[in-house]
Symmetry: none
Subunit: 201 residues, 4 copies
DNA sequence: AATGAATGAGACTTCATTCAT
DNA sequence: TATGAATGAAGTCTCATTCAT
């Protein structure tokens, strides 16, 4: 009884909202939020406009949902690594490498995340920035912990170190291509290594 | 005798194309390329739409011009530092710090540069990527030179090191605010220092 | 309960696409394709621009639709006359007269048809020319049949005879005015007669 | 001292107004009056916009000039043939063939003539129609002379016969291609022959 | 006799969203 | 839960024409 249209993507198995989110993610990453029309999203998801507006209040809601998904995932993982039972150097290295791997594995999310903040409504932006700050602070705390313990250099303010590392994470979607010379794990190890080497006292 | 319209921005002294470019830069950085209308640009520049299209073939041409300006400037500066008569550590440190200062001094250009590539026509993107690559390679050569000379660690491929540093430059427009705790030069020194420390053998 | 806008033209009974096509036909014939704005069309049809673009991909699509309508009609009628069970002179005369009557009855279509080919996209022009050729060839075949049978003169190549007759059909929209001295049928009979007389051996 | 721009077309020898008219004729025939921009005309003529507006009051003036040129030429030639010292059949045949040859030799003029009437201002259209009528009447008079003399059939009103023939002339620009199977003179002879055969009593 | 920068109106088209069904 | 026709505002761009030089 399913219409042929709903069968695209071989994803009739997935519920409609997920299908919409997946289609939107791919398209937003590909051509940018403003260049993606609602029509294109619903076509890619194999549904109609009415369905989209049934589940999401607006196009901008879709974007917000994507932001939420990324933020939740990254925060959870960081929390896990930060709370682990290991020396601070190890915990920082693991967290730093993990965010790289996770970012590469969701490169579309990353492209969107760093490029589309402005398209969110002012209110939603505020919310995202707040969660982002929480994440940033947890990461910074890790560095400060090491600095206080004397295992990390205090030459550079911890804040700046966080931004230094996250700059490289942000940049991944610009240059990393799946199937490239290095595996995600190798890239992650290298970048975490650079961070730790820079922090040597 | 000058009409009121030409007086906006008190910039009647500057020629029209420059005025348009300045207005476009500010607006593109503020609200993004797609969210800026041609109407807004010409109003900010105090001219009419016809005048804009007299000098620029399209909105996209304005963006391309901005890219060209940034690329020319950065390449010139990098070339100068790379060719200087000094040890390679010094030349790399100077170049790495300079690109940070220059980026902060033209933060609008930077916001646009890293966020708006996709809005360029495919052809213009190709051109920009080619010039970008030239820049990247020059920077990488500096690192490789130090690695061969044994003053830089070879633990990380030079390519990746370049991307690590430029990630942080890229990221500046996300977090740096003029009038912040650190001066541009201080930020630059810190970031260059992090790079050099990470490269210690 | 119908809004005032939908009532213009007293044509709320007709579906929107037909109303648009009718309005476009009248206007294109009146003032030419390029001189007719999309705004004028939707106003004449009593709908909004959005509605037009919901049904037609472009202004050029409207024109293409008009061409399609004319071509289908004329081809059908020619086929019917050509396949009739009658001597070839009779079949040619009937077909030649019929195209005149049909053209006069749809004079707007005819004005457009012969004047607006160039405004179609290259691709659509190709398509129209192909269908036009099919029509031309069917008509020519009728003449050649008569020439082989010895009832028509072979002094003039059949191709040229077809163009001779269709020139006069083409020309109708230039000079024929409804309510003129001659009825459509009379004009048709005269023109078909001229053709047949010119073909006498 | 002539700038490189004015040298295009190798036509620096011709005066500017003629060059503009020639360029306009070619372009109007190629892509239609409305689709041709003033910019394109001046570029093709190797002059600037100021020069065009120095010689012609408007774009529509250029078109009017083209109409005038065609009308003058055709009227002169028809007058010459009509007044010749020869039997009426011969005079009609010569005139009918001549207009075909002349039309083919100026096919661009013909395309424009039959397709662009509507782009003239109402006033200029009236003027053109008046001259056109004079031409038509002179041609019709020739046919009526033959009908009165009993050498042409009176089965068809002379008016309609004129339109029949001019339809075929009008149509030439649709199908005739230089370098085709038949020379202009051969086409002319065939079409004149068809006319005369149709008029056989 | 000629330039070319500038105007300003209007062209086609896109698009997020709504609403009766 | 879902449709898809329809809206209406806004978007980019074109162009004939003018005018100071």
């Amino acid at each position: 009884m399913t219409s042929p249209a709903t069968r695209r993507q071989g994803s009739t198995t997935q519920p409609v909202p997920q299908r919409l989110l997946a289609a939107a993610t791919r398209l937003f990453a590909d051509r940018g939020y403003d260049r993606t029309s609602v029509q294109e999203i619903v076509e890619a998801a194999g549904v109609t406009k009415g369905a989209l507006y049934h589940y999401f209040g607006s196009k901008d809601d879709l974007l917000h949902e994507i932001y939420g998904r990324v933020l939740r995932l990254q925060q959870e993982r960081l929390d896990a690594f930060a709370e682990a039972d290991a020396p601070v150097e190890q915990r920082l290295r693991d967290a730093a490498a993990d965010v790289v791997v996770t970012t590469i594995e969701n490169l579309d999310d990353a492209s969107i995340f760093f490029r589309s903040m402005h398209q969110l409504s002012e209110e939603k932006q505020k919310q995202v920035r707040a969660e982002r700050r929480r994440y940033h602070e947890r990461f910074r705390a890790l560095i400060e912990e090491g600095q206080k313990a004397g295992v990390f250099s205090t030459a550079t303010p911890a804040d700046l170190v966080v931004d230094y590392h996250f700059g490289s994470v942000h940049h991944l979607s610009t240059w990393y291509r799946p199937g490239g010379r290095l595996t995600p794990q190798q890239v992650a190890d290298h970048l975490a290594d650079l961070l730790l080497r820079a922090l040597r006292p």
